[in-house]
Symmetry: none
Subunit: 165 residues, 2 copies
Amino acid sequence: MWVTFPTFQKNMTLNKDTFTGEYQYSLDSKGRVNIPAKFRQALSKKNQNTFVATRGQDPCVWIYPLTEWKKIEDELRNLSSVSGIHRTFIRQIARSATPSTCDKQGRITLSPSLISFSQIDKNALIIGMINKIEIWNPETLKTVDEKNMIEDSIELNSLADKIVI
Amino acid sequence: MWVTFPTFQKNMTLNKDTFTGEYQYSLDSKGRVNIPAKFRQALSKKNQNTFVATRGQDPCVWIYPLTEWKKIEDELRNLSSVSGIHRTFIRQIARSATPSTCDKQGRITLSPSLISFSQIDKNALIIGMINKIEIWNPETLKTVDEKNMIEDSIELNSLADKIVI
DNA sequence: AAGATAGTGGTGAATTGTGGGTAACTTTCC
DNA sequence: GGAAAGTTACCCACAATTCACCACTATCTT
């Protein structure tokens, strides 16, 4: 039995703007963290060194490449702000969103409010989350993930069944 | 219950991109493992030498050829991250996923976190799992399989009834 | 038996991550 | 309005790691 596969498109690399992997870096005294070189390369050429940092839904920092952030911006724009909860939601995301560019060594500077929100002191754990980047205090991450896994283990298993192949 | 596989003549053709068989290789001091030549040949030409390694559902390393991984990646990308458990799930998979291309000798490098997760030290047992590749510490595999076979022997038999012809 | 292919180990060059220093710009206070 | 202090951004240099390549040995094939 033969199965013929379609020939592959030219660009059979990982999607651009796809972030995976974890990296342990340090936050220096000036509030700078390194962005992993792999992530910098993952970005499409044009906006190579511009990100938008904002507070995550979890107590961590979310970093979007400009293209992804634009999508979010559009969605927020379309969200009517008649209801109070909508306004609060928009406020949450918008108020702390700060565009920031990598310096020549590939670092970005986190604003003091993001640092205190995410409680990152010295060690910064950077995680690729497919379309965005998360920066965590490692301790915090552990407790959050453990809590979720215990409380929602059933949901977690069903997700794994559905998606992992 | 044992199933014996036919030895393959030169051009005996399994489906392309189908991995079977087991191989005993070694993990060197730099975290490199060889990918069996058969597996490399099994891949369609274009993306021959890029894989994505990630942590398995068992304590082993899973290695996907790029085409298979992209399916997972797309699922993850479409998963809304409004709920905490979704984010935890994405994180689990994405944080350990490392794209890696074979070097000229046909090896890929495993990240330290994957090595410690799978507890592979020197001997690496590589198993073809149809659409992906597993890398095990041989000791670990033995205990895991034995445990499963004892606990779920009924399920195992019914699976065998259903599938083996 | 000889050539080809496959697997293992090591080395050197290039890249990456970290700390610090200096210049420019802002803010504040006199 | 001007000077001083503080803040921000940019740049340089060193250390550590990574990656690409080379060479050797073992195994398989003809």
